[in-house]
């Protein structure tokens, strides 16, 4: 229905091209950009209908008991499964093709500086407030769209294999398509308000997918936690919008940013801080990261798409999108970079001691998102987006690989009838390379990439971030700003140092994970190991494509120093969107080639040292999970993630519940109620016999008294 509405609106606008100024993209395939979010939305509607349709038509066994209902559900699934397989990934392929076509159209025109903006319908027009359903196509949203539809399509394909035996197959694809639709609204919207629709929309899809296997209370709890923690961030996003509107009278990017030009510095600071609260929620930064590790309760391809490649990077996108605002608040920008650096280090230390393969990757994601915030916080927007893209490749690959491993482990335990065993615990794996060669190879490529080994994608993007931080520590506007009284220059060196340490830890924990899972003796158990097998091609195919992207992704934005091809492709591409903001924060920063070479050398050395440490430390035999000795001291603290969750439960969650129950409800509310009732009784007693009516509960008589009373009052008026 929504789809029909938007299509109708789009047709209406196409008829009268309003007062659009001549834009080089007018009349090109870019005019069809509204189809991008609509295609996956359509997929979601089709897949959702497949789930619900049998329930709508009577006489399909819906009246029977649960057992027969589920029986008929199984037979129905066989019939509808191929439609879902066709539609779910199909709409993604179409969207990706359209995105590519649009990209080439943008490449084909010269002088593309202004964004291509189309409004399709009015949403909330109230007085001075103008909010339209509009799309803004520019270099940033284009890039994000390519990543979302491209990586998204690959993960949809992978899911066809991964979820094939699940009874909720169509429901899964309905949610996954819905997610992509919301994500595309998020990046393509032409105003903060429309972005917020996508922003909470992806949160909803994430909630539904984390709790996809909702029969387990823990999964449902994880989904709920994700949504609520994200809402704390959304609170910040909302307040930022109110501030923007009351300052500039607009919420669309172009007018709001133009209006901010004359705003007071305090306004910049406030808007930036509130927006960043939103970013910290969505992108799992300190202290709001707590939902992301729990979010691993969802199916693993979901973790790859939503909790690694796309949704969690929305905060990074928001900072880049609002670069004109953040660049006007250098202190907040520095603060963001600092939070990013602390998050990166914090999460990396936790990842060192995780045993659940997905938890390692979850904390790794939190850590890598920290790098992205270091970048956008220091005004290196292009570097942040570059790392966002490469991370989407290698982390999606790592998660898909973990999915293949878990898939195999489940099959193994199914084979040996040991259903109680933990299929995600690294201590139960070991030696998987022999059974899953493709998975092992592709995951090693991604591991080397995230560790920062050249010439893989992660090396270039991480190096560019750290180089930018180092460069800005001298002579840039950021260096002369300060946070909490600490001069920017010192902070930037500190952030650089934290980044380097994190890089070392990253190399260690990733290599540890790979060694535990794929090397050494197999610990799955002799009988179960017979059931271990490589994933089907529908799953390994997407992994191989992502592996290629992980190898080649660095070429998107080569440094000048390394003459392997044209330099700065991505920075140049993003120049019209973030160029001026980058100058505002980082202008004047410069690195000599000598220094840059030293930094690169240091980064490579750190990566290799980290890998070497892990090889020395984790090569030896590891006990099976059942035989593992309990952990003590620091390792226990790390594997419990510093016990933040239980601490928050004690200090925040339970006190609020207790306050609501004991003070507000049982205390005030109930007491107020009693006071009113006894007050009422008192009045009625004074009124005489009415009390009898109350006491006897003769409701009818009492109401007639009221009726007569009203008539009497009327009569009294009439007589005067």
């Amino acid at each position: 229905m929504m789809a029909a509405f938007i299509m109708h609106a789009a047709a209406g606008v196409a008829a009268n091209l309003q007062s659009e100024v001549a834009h080089p993209l007018n009349g090109t395939v870019a005019e069809w950009v509204w189809l991008l979010p609509l295609l996956p939305l359509l997929g979601a509607i089709v897949n959702g209908s497949l789930v619900l349709w049998p329930r709508l038509s009577p006489g399909s066994g819906a009246q029977g008991n649960l057992a027969t209902r589920e029986e008929s559900a199984v037979s129905r699934q066989a019939a509808t499964k191929w439609i879902t397989t066709l539609v779910g990934p199909g709409v993604m392929l179409l969207a990706f093709a359209l995105a590519l076509a649009t990209f080439f159209a943008m490449q084909g025109v010269s002088g593309l500086t202004d964004p291509f903006i189309r409004t399709y319908a009015s949403w909330m027009p109230v007085g001075a407030l103008v909010i339209d359903w509009g799309i803004q196509l520019d270099q940033l949203s284009m890039l994000m769209t390519l990543v979302i539809t491209g990586v998204g399509f690959l993960i949809h394909l992978f899911s066809v294999g991964y979820m094939s035996a699940d009874e909720g197959y169509s429901r899964y694809f309905a949610y996954l398509n819905l997610f992509v639709a919301a994500m595309l609204v998020l990046v393509l919207g032409s105003s903060y308000a429309v972005m917020f629709v996508g922003w909470e929309g992806v949160g909803l899809a994430s909630y539904l997918l984390i709790g996809f296997w909702f029969s387990e209370t823990a999964n449902a709890d994880a989904g709920k936690k994700a949504f609520i923690v994200n809402r704390i961030g959304d609170f910040g996003f909302l307040v930022a919008m109110f501030l923007l509107f009351s300052t500039t009278g607009a919420l669309d990017y172009v007018s709001a940013h133009a209006g901010m030009a004359t705003a007071a510095p305090g306004v910049f600071t406030a808007v930036a801080l509130f927006l960043f609260l939103g970013c910290a929620g969505k992108s799992a930064q300190l202290p709001l990261y707590i939902w992301l590790p729990d979010a691993m309760a969802g199916p693993t391809p979901v973790s790859a798409l939503i909790h690694a490649a796309t949704m969690v990077t929305a905060g990074v996108y928001l900072v880049a999108r609002a670069a004109p605002v953040f660049a006007g608040a250098p202190d907040v920008s520095l603060f963001i970079a600092l939070i990013g650096a602390l998050t990166a280090l914090f999460a990396a230390t936790v990842a060192l001691r995780q045993w659940d393969i997905k938890k390692v990757l979850a904390y790794s994601t939190v850590s890598q998102l920290g790098y992205m915030f270091i970048a956008v916080g220091t005004g290196a927007y292009a570097a942040g987006v570059f790392h966002l893209v490469t991370h989407a490749f290698f982390k999606a690959l790592l998660f898909l690989g973990a999915g293949a491993v878990i898939h195999a482990m489940h099959a193994a335990y199914h084979h040996s009838h040991e259903h109680g065993q933990d299929a995600q615990d690294l201590r139960n794996m070991g030696g998987l390379r022999r059974f899953l060669p493709v998975t092992s190879l592709t995951m090693w490529i991604a591991t080397l990439a995230i560790a920062g080994v050249p010439p893989l994608a992660g090396f270039f993007s991480k190096d560019e971030i750290l180089a930018a931080v180092f460069a800005r520590a001298q002579g840039s506007p950021l260096a002369s700003a300060s946070v909490f009284g600490i001069p920017g220059s010192a902070l930037l060196y500190l952030i650089y140092g934290l980044g380097i340490v994190t890089a070392l830890l990253t190399a260690i924990y990733m290599t540890r994970m790979m060694l535990l899972a794929f090397s050494g003796e197999n610990r799955t158990g002799a009988k179960a190991a017979q059931g271990l097998h490589e994933a089907p091609r529908i799953m390994t195919g997407p992994m191989l494509v992502l592996a290629l992207l992980t190898i080649a992704g660095g070429w998107l934005n080569l440094p000048e120093l390394i003459p392997l091809g044209p330099a700065h492709l991505l920075s140049d591409w993003l120049e019209p969107v973030t160029g001026s903001a980058t100058l505002l924060l980082g202008g004047g920063a410069h690195l000599s080639h000598g220094t840059e070479l030293v930094l690169i050398g240091l980064a490579v050395a750190i990566a290799l040292i980290g890998i070497a440490i892990a090889f020395v430390r984790f090569r030896g035999p590891t006990p099976n999970k059942d035989n593992a000795a309990p952990e003590h001291g620091l390792s226990a603290l790390l594997s419990d993630a510093y016990r933040v969750d239980s601490g928050l439960d004690r200090t925040v969650v339970r006190p609020i519940a207790a306050f609501s129950n004991n003070v507000l409800w049982q205390g005030l509310d109930q007491r107020l109620d009693r006071a009113f009732v006894s007050g009422g009784n008192l009045i009625s007693r004074m009124a005489g016999q009415a009390h009898d009516a109350l006491g006897s509960g003769d409701v009818g008589r009492y109401a007639w008294v009221i009726a007569l009373g009203v008539l009497a009052v009327l009569a009294a008026f009439t007589l005067t």
Binding site: I6, G211, F214, F242, S246, L664, D669, V699, Y702, V710
Partner: protein, 527 residues
């Protein structure tokens, strides 16, 4: 006489006539027919079924309501579809009716909601159906009267006309604790209404004892002191009726003990409508009075947080919904008293949304009760596997309640907060924390009911939504998404009335550019 002149009296009187018809001709059908039989076959069995007859009357009323919607001209200022008939000439009271962009949405919402609610609760009331139908129709008439009256005496009559049938509906068809709940409701509301009656009488006397008409009384020049006293009387009446903290405790009990349709009607925001229609324009100096404003605005924010926090710990779905309503009411009050174009339109929007979303939720709670005899959250779990359509509707309605963008709930809440921020930034920020707490109570309820294992075996046999109930819920679902994506037909119609209200009370239009400097003393009640 054109249609626009008789449509409002018709809307007011038709349900009353219908009530008499239903009471006299309607047949009691005590034994419920088969669960899924449609109501149309009843006529063949000697005398019309009271329920079918009631539904028929309500459907006609809904058609009239739609006609009113179509007749309304969004570009014309002032009252539309006016009627002005002699009523009590000695008093000067007249049957004066009219609608503007604030009352029209409430009016149409009411006329559409009543037949839907009756259809959805078709099997839930099975005794004394002729009386039940007649009372429902009288109640409808009272609601319509509140929304169309321009004469204060007529308004008062309609206001009380709502009370009596509601009292009976709770008292006769309610659950175990109905008597206490009904009496508490009536006592508190009556207390407020009497104060209001006194204030109306005072206004009448000050106006020369010749007229009760709102337009005439708006011309009065009242001293600040008089305004403060009269406003206090009106405000108290409306605050009690709309369950503003701390006068809210009757609502959870009444909505819990009432039959579901009663809970739905209690959710209609007549109190805040009356505030916008009468109390605020009549006493602008009082509304703009520093202390009054502070008290009401702070109470609103307290209500938002209080309602949401208490909703988090409720054991029953309907109690969760009641406290959520109390939280919503805070948003409405905030929007009304923040007095900007956006906040007022947002407030009216929430009033409409509340009528859609909370009604849907109460009906869903009713379905649970109808099937299992309870709506305690811990009596369920894992329902999503058993009743997926119910699960989808519950989730969608809850998301609308907590203001997810793309649903109607977001539009109202966003406009209120955005508009409030322009004049009261700090309070707006506090109020915005409500969105976090709201997600807690909503998702808690959803999870307890729908997710986890199917602990109670009997629930595995639960029937999903079908037939009438499914159709009604479908209408609600469409409305929630439609108003979330394309609210402008509604917003466009509210625009003139809302700006007129803001201008009248503030004495300035508070256009965007003046937001920062607009501080109005409200002394110019005389325009």
């Amino acid at each position: 006489m054109g249609m626009d002149q008789w449509i409002l009296p018709a809307l007011l009187l038709w349900p009353l006539i219908g009530a008499v018809i239903v009471r006299l001709l309607g047949q009691e059908r005590n034994a419920p027919t088969t669960a899924e039989s449609m109501p149309t076959d009843a006529l063949s069995r000697g005398g019309p079924d009271a329920r079918v007859l009631t539904l028929g009357v309500l459907v006609v009323e809904a058609v009239l309501g739609v006609c009113a919607w179509l007749l309304f001209d969004a570009t014309a200022p002032g009252w539309q579809m006016r009627t002005d008939l002699t009523w009590l000439p000695d008093l000067g009271a007249r049957l004066s009716m009219g609608v503007d962009g604030i009352s029209l949405p409430m009016l149409v919402l009411t006329t559409l909601l009543m037949p839907l609610a009756l259809l959805a609760t078709w099997q839930q009331v099975t005794s004394r159906m002729a009386t039940y139908g007649a009372l429902l129709l009288a109640l409808t008439s009272g609601l319509v009267g509140v929304f169309v009256s321009l004469d204060l005496l007529l308004f008062y009559l309609a206001w009380e006309l709502m009370l009596i049938p509601m009292y009976f509906i709770i008292g006769i068809w309610g659950t175990a604790g109905r008597t206490r709940a009904a009496i508490k409701y009536v006592m508190l509301t009556m207390f407020g209404s009497l104060l209001m009656l006194a204030a109306i009488a005072a206004l009448y006397v000050m106006g020369g004892s010749t007229t009760f008409h709102l337009d005439d009384l708006l011309q009065l020049s009242l001293s600040l002191n008089t305004q403060l006293w009269l406003f206090a009387a009106f405000f108290l009446a409306f605050a009690i009726k709309s369950a503003l903290v701390p006068f809210h405790t009757w609502l959870p009990d009444a909505q819990f003990e009432a039959p579901v349709i009663g809970a739905v009607v209690l959710g209609l925001k007549v109190g805040t409508y009356a505030l916008l229609r009468f109390a605020m324009p009549l006493f602008p100096a009082a509304v703009m009075h520093e202390t009054v404003r502070s008290v009401v605005l702070v109470l609103s924010v307290i209500a938002i947080v209080w309602g949401a926090l208490v909703a988090i710990v409720q054991p029953d779905l309907r109690k969760v919904l009641s406290y959520a309503s109390i939280s919503h009411l805070g948003f409405i009050m905030l929007g009304c008293f923040a007095l900007t174009q956006q906040s007022v339109e947002g407030a009216v929007m929430i009033m409409v949304n509340h009528g859609i979303t909370t009604s849907a939720l109460f009906l869903l709670a009713g379905f649970l009760k109808e099937r299992s005899g309870t709506d305690r959250l811990d009596a369920f779990g894992g329902l999503a596997r058993v009743v997926p359509l119910f699960a989808v509707m519950l989730t969608l309605s809850m998301l609308s309640t907590i203001g997810l963008p793309g649903t109607n709930g977001f539009v109202g809440e966003f406009l209120v907060l955005l508009g409030t921020y322009r004049t009261e930034p700090l309070l707006a920020i506090f109020a915005t924390t409500g969105v976090v707490f709201a997600s807690v109570y909503a998702l808690r309820a959803v999870q307890r009911l729908l997710f986890s294992g199917l602990d109670v075996k009997a629930n595995g046999e639960m029937r999903d939504l079908r037939g009438r109930q499914l159709a009604v819920m479908g209408v609600f679902a469409v409305a929630m998404i439609w108003l979330g994506v394309a609210p402008q037909p509604l917003l466009r119609r509210m625009e003139l009335a809302s700006s007129a209200l803001v201008e009248r009370v503030r004495g300035t239009s508070l256009d965007y550019a003046q937001a920062a400097t607009a501080v109005n003393t409200g002394a110019n009640a005389n325009d």
